[in-house]
Amino acid sequence: MNSKDASRGERRSVRNESGIEIAPLYTAEDVARTGGTAMVGLPGEYPFTRGIHPLMYRKQPWTMRQYTGFGKSSETNKRFHYLIANGQTGLNVAFDLPTQCGYDSDDPMAEGEVGRVGMAVDTLRDFEIAFAGIDLDKITVSLTINGAAAILIAMYLAMAEKRGYDKKTLRGTAQNDILKEFVGRGTWVYPVEPSIRLVGDTIEYCAKHAPKYSPVSVCGYHIRESGADPAQEMAYAFCIAKAYADEVIRRGLPVWPSSSRACPCARCSPSRMSWSERPSTYSMAMYTASAVWPASKMVTMLG
């Protein structure tokens, strides 16, 4: 491309992957048209467009968690210690498919799959071994588990309690987004209605007994990987988040504890702003997954 073409290219509007037109330049006039500075606000304040904490990433950067888990819990424990020794600030646990689908390792359905795509968990002892020697106050743990999440959240809390941690102050996260499994990934255990009830049960339990624990991470990432464009991904994720919120509100819980979702950077601010329109919650914690198609595409674009 010669310089003339390049300069013409810069003036042209482009469409992003969702088919939304992106202008070459945005000014204060665009901000005014979409609600003015009141809709942008300050970080830590409603509508949280600029983040949920006043100092956001200056105070605390993203927690870094490499998705990890394989074989036996003892092998996974070694890997956890290696990652922490090398600067990782949290853990994101991968479970094998039998664990994700609710099968014991010796079930005929589990043949060939035990410890394959993540750690095999059959009993509480597996959790005790996997997290041995890890300070659960310093290293927060994210459990990437959905259909069987209620059981594994219980195992995590039971393991922590046995080690003397107080559930009231224990932090951590479970993915526990079962509706996403129906839309995008296929690893559900129960049908839709009982799955929503299970998610509601875990939220209700944590709200009452482990209030610092995040029992659900609504996840658009798998929906994206299954063919949704970024706008569709957000739409599905918000619909799913609303379904869980409605279940919690139906039970009479006063506050939706927190919500987070996979979100490459350009979607964070609009997501936060949109979520703030729900009167029972307002603030939105985020996580972003970097893997496979969206990330490889991003790397291509940056490269």
């Binding site: 498919l97 799959e113 394959r116 499994e181 296929g186 690893t187 990987e225």
Partner: protein, 132 residues
């Protein structure tokens, strides 16, 4: 092809792997190419796949595996397909299949082995060239 009826493909998702996007894309491509495709849905056992292939009188038995259990599964499904009298049918497999496993998959009877990023046309042409 000099066949009187369309080639019938039973496309199965073996084991607990839930990643079915690839299988669905391949199913659509095979249908567009004129094949009749029966997609089994998720979490099929070796016994179920052999039974479905027999019941449907499949010309092609295709597996889609993304989560690394392809070798144990294929070792188990091979004798079941043979016992069902399906040894002469075309067996193929696609998905996350490390190159180091391709020889064993072929030795187990899977004549077509299609790793991720295989072109759809290559799968279609392979079936046309090899189906009996």
């Amino acid at each position: 092809m000099s066949r009187g009826k369309p080639v019938k493909v039973v496309l199965a998702k073996p084991g607990l792997d839930g990643h079915d996007q690839g299988a669905k894309v391949v199913a659509r491509a095979l249908m567009d190419a004129g094949f009749e495709v029966i997609y089994t849905g998720l979490r099929q056992t070796p016994e179920a796949i052999a039974r479905i292939a027999l019941d449907e009188d499949a010309d092609v038995i295709a597996l889609s595996s993304m989560a690394g259990s392809h070798l144990p599964f294929c070792r188990k499904v091979k004798p079941l397909l043979e016992q069902a009298g399906l040894g002469g049918k075309l067996w193929i497999i696609g998905g996350n299949l490390p190159a180091s496993d391709h020889d064993e998959l072929r030795a187990l009877g899977f004549k077509g082995v299609f790793a991720s990023s295989t072109r759809l046309d290559d799968i279609i042409n392979f079936i046309r060239a090899n189906v009996s």
